[in-house]
Symmetry: C2
Subunit: 351 residues, 2 copies
């Protein structure tokens, strides 16, 4: 890593176009002046945006690309037309080549994961990468992973998720031994969760120095902030994340409706406006923006595609933070924990 | 079914004791005068409550039981000490014997499911029962099942869930062909979801008369009310339900905090109080109280244990409604759909 934090940006990956990405980079740089940017995308669109920001331009390089990955395409399609030459691929490739320390894209999640895997490859001992998110809780934030990079997990994969998630929590929350829980359901004596129970056994018995295993947690423990790191396989994790987002949106609709229904409510709303603004900000997924792909030879940050410049800047700043705090090196060290069995010796039931 | 709706109540199953159950029965009967009750529980506690309500008492029978199932016990423990003689077992048994049309309990969910399965047995062709809930959405309510009765599902089980859920939606929402979606995650080309995809294929090709299959839905579609019936296996379903409850509680905490932080917010709160009350009621799980156990030779309603009399009454009234509308007969008829393959011919991957 150079003294600067070099961030590769897929400028074609935001729903609202390169203007959001460039404005976000300017915001991020205003708060982290040690940032440098590599913009990948259509130079006809991007060059004028940089010309209008001389200070940002002086810390940026623009690499023209003809091809942008479309949001609706399947990963295999995107790989077919976008490999070697799309803005997304080349932004990832900058990390691979060592030209950048981290890559941020708001583009097609499946394509971003497929290209990241294909190009960066997984870390030694890791079969499948994971997507980790910062989940707002009553106690602050928790790391939740995997939220959909892959489906099903054997016990050893769940343990790897715990180790990677704890490394991320340690850095982002500044906690020495983050607490870790395995997402499970409250029904006792059920069949079919051998991998989760086995992972619990390993975490309990191994007593890893870098994390404090707390046992099983249920869906409603996530929002409570019961643990710093919630570990789950990707199917249930994705459903939990999307369901929480849906519930937050639903309540905010109710609230909007309730606040306009009567004169009293409308007057109340005027008085309580700033309180509502705070609430909206806490509930806004854009504030805790950015999934982090873990388990690869490089850090890839996925921003929400539909976010504004402030939201995209949050994803860029998350990228800046994990580079400054050497997340990748710490994960690599933590994964090489003593006593970890070789993968082929494991009998967990991957589905 | 008699002209009356005969409801068996596990009077020992509510966290706040028989007083809640008896008060709930009185409330339910005031709105549904054709209700009759069988109370199972400690007569020393219950008799005085009924004596104080002569009108309710005239429509009730009290059956003394010595044993109450404890909330913290595992299903196998509860079966060991509670079979044949606990209030929970005997309330279920009243349905088995034809003394009651439906049973309502707020007790230990795992024990209630275990006893229900053991005593009532599953319907022909159904291997495992399911728990269905009414989920509040922006469009009203949806039926979501299974939320945790069992883990994993083969394709045919998912199709059975769709059929049972649609029968419930038809009755409760008065829709001829309820729309049905299979809960899935948005990542394309993923391995491991064969059962969900196979169930989708069956539902698409069979074009069942009683439901309108709409394809896959994601977690955030539940709260939108995108479909009338959301079908999922129990692990993901339970995590979705608990996560939504946790998120709702979390936001309501934020709201409480935000509304007391400044003078303006406090004044605003006074004006908007009734709007907040409405919001709380819509978000309150007690309002849409009651999971329904489907797939058994008898209908079992699970109330939240921690609810108040109004919440428990909602569960009783849900029971009243499904009896009046002959849910069990309709499910039995719908499950015997033409062309349904015998179970042993199926190759779905139960986990």
């Amino acid at each position: 890593m150079s003294q600067k934090v070099r961030i590769a940006l897929d400028a074609m990956g935001a729903d609202h176009g390169p203007a959001v990405v460039v404005a976000a980079a300017e915001l991020a740089r205003s708060r982290h002046p040690d940032s440098e940017f590599l913009f990948f995308g259509n130079s006809t669109l991007i060059a004028p945006l940089l010309d209008a920001r001389p200070e940002l331009k002086s810390a940026s390089r623009l690499i023209h690309t003809e091809i942008a990955v479309r949001m609706e395409d399947k990963p295999s399609q995107a790989l077919r037309y976008g490999r070697w030459k799309s803005s997304m691929w080349l932004a990832i490739d900058a990390v691979k080549k060592g030209d950048a320390d981290v890559v941020v894209s708001g583009g097609n999640t499946g394509a971003l994961m497929a290209m990241s895997k294909f190009n960066l490859k997984t870390l030694p001992g890791i079969e499948r990468p994971a997507i980790a998110v910062l989940w707002p809780t009553l106690r602050g934030e928790s790391v939740v992973l995997d939220v959909g990079a892959s489906i099903g997990a054997d016990a050893e994969h769940l343990v790897d998720l715990a180790v990677m998630g704890a490394a991320m929590a340690r850095i982002l929350f500044g906690i020495d031994r983050p607490s870790v829980g395995l997402l499970n359901i409250g029904v006792e004596e059920v069949k079919g969760l051998e991998p989760v129970r086995e992972a619990g056994r390993i975490l309990r018995e191994d007593k890893l120095a870098d994390l404090d295993y707390q046992g099983f947690v249920e869906g409603d423990d996530i929002g409570k902030g019961a643990v710093d790191v919630v570990v789950t396989e990707g199917f249930a994790g994705n459903i939990a994340l999307k369901t929480a987002e849906g519930t937050a949106r639903q309540i905010s609709e109710y609230l909007r409706g309730a606040m306009t229904r009567s004169l009293g409510a409308r007057i109340g709303y005027l008085f309580a406006r700033s309180a509502f603004r705070q609430l909206r900000e806490r509930m806004d997924p854009g504030r805790a923006n950015g999934g982090v792909f873990l388990g690869l030879n490089g850090i890839v940050i996925k921003s929400h595609g539909g976010t504004d410049a402030e939201g995209f800047a949050a994803a860029i700043e998350l990228g800046h933070g994990v580079v400054r705090d050497r997340l990748l090196a710490k994960i690599t060290a933590a994964l090489a924990r003593p006593g970890k069995p070789p993968r082929q010796a494991l009998g967990g039931a991957a589905s």
